[in-house]
């Protein structure tokens, strides 16, 4: 009888140590919380697919401005600098000039010694269904602001149909 009692006691004392599991689970939660974008604050832009597009790391000290062209709720095209308010071509030009002046890094223009060119970079993120006339507007605004390093954003490949989640 005495033996039996002892064995029972030992059995009762066995416990699983939950600490490592909880550590890992918390770690996963924190990871997914950080990665998740719950509310879309940026303009939704369906970028075109271009197999030759290159993912380039920005060089240290460089500044890249993003010009977004997206569709608003009413279906109209919206031109934005970063996440700013909708702009017209003239307003974009003024904004780019201000940015170039604030960045204040210029280089000589080899073909025109009296002129300085801004080393600011502009990336155009334009929806693939938007009118390409927007590019004319952005190019003209960049040229007026003496910015020549312009790139068009695209993705290499698309994994899912972007229109399946769109209304």
């Amino acid at each position: 009888m005495a033996r039996k009692k002892k064995a029972k006691k030992v059995h009762k004392g066995v416990e699983m140590d939950m600490t490592p599991m909880i550590d890992i689970v918390f770690l996963l939660i924190v990871f997914f919380m950080v990665v998740t974008e719950l509310a879309v604050q940026q303009a939704v832009v369906i970028l075109p697919v271009a197999s030759e597009s290159k993912v380039e790391e920005p060089q240290p000290g460089s500044r890249i401005l993003v010009v977004n062209v997206s569709f608003g709720i009413d279906g109209n095209e919206i031109l934005q600098l970063m996440n700013g308010p909708p702009l017209t071509q003239k307003e974009l030009e003024i904004a780019l000039k201000e940015e170039a002046a604030a960045y204040d890094k210029f280089e000589d223009n080899p073909s025109n010694p009296t002129q300085k060119l801004s080393t600011l970079q502009v990336t155009i993120r334009c929806d693939q269904g938007a009118k390409s006339g927007n590019i004319h507007k952005i190019f003209a605004a960049c040229q007026a602001a003496r910015i020549y390093q312009v790139s068009c954003a695209a993705i290499n490949d698309r994994l899912e149909d972007p229109y399946s989640t769109q209304p």
Binding site: F32, T36, V55, Q143
Partner: protein, 171 residues
């Protein structure tokens, strides 16, 4: 003394029940796992602008320029010309954009072949440089097609690309 000993033992036995916490934590974990959507990295196609305004005007009119023209007809169909040749309409809905609209675009392989042929026979005037390609697009053409042509040029290692720009009054 007996009382004290008992209270000490009681403290030792206190255990918190982990079950509800683990339930909630797993729930949160599953929620965030499902809510997460990983994005494709975004790349860029370089399209640097000429450093001098009106530069293209100072060049002689180059007959050896390859001109890709994109237009849109009233039905929403994009019509393309590779130089003077009309680009046939693609048999397939090649991209998600075309599938979404149900309208096929121009045959991109035709444009690629044309540029490739022009590049192969191109003899530069000054002995250097690659075939100049001008992309001339109407304002209402979807941006996708401009990027398609730009992509074809990048694939063909064409370095001299120009966008035909509508007239801008000089300041």
């Amino acid at each position: 003394m007996a009382r004290r000993a008992k209270s000490k033992r009681d403290v030792g036995d206190v255990e918190s029940d982990m079950t509800p916490m683990i339930d909630v934590v797993f729930l949160l974990l599953i929620f965030f796992m499902l809510a997460t959507k990983f994005k494709m990295p975004e790349g860029t196609l370089r399209s640097y602008l000429p450093k001098n305004r009106g530069e293209s005007n100072s060049r002689p009119m180059m007959s050896e320029t390859c001109r890709i023209t994109l237009m849109m007809n009233p039905g929403g169909q994009v019509i393309a010309y590779a130089d003077q040749a009309l680009v046939p309409v693609s048999d397939l809905l090649d991209s998600d954009f075309e599938q979404h609209n149900g309208i096929p675009g121009p045959d991109l392989l035709f444009i690629e072949d044309h540029i490739g042929r022009r590049k192969a026979t191109y003899v530069p005037l000054d002995g250097t440089g690659t075939l100049p390609v001008v992309i001339d697009f109407a304002e209402n053409v979807p941006y996708k097609y401009v990027i398609d042509v730009l992509n074809i040029c990048a694939r063909g290692r064409i370095e001299n690309i120009a966008f035909a720009q509508p007239e801008i009054p000089l300041e």
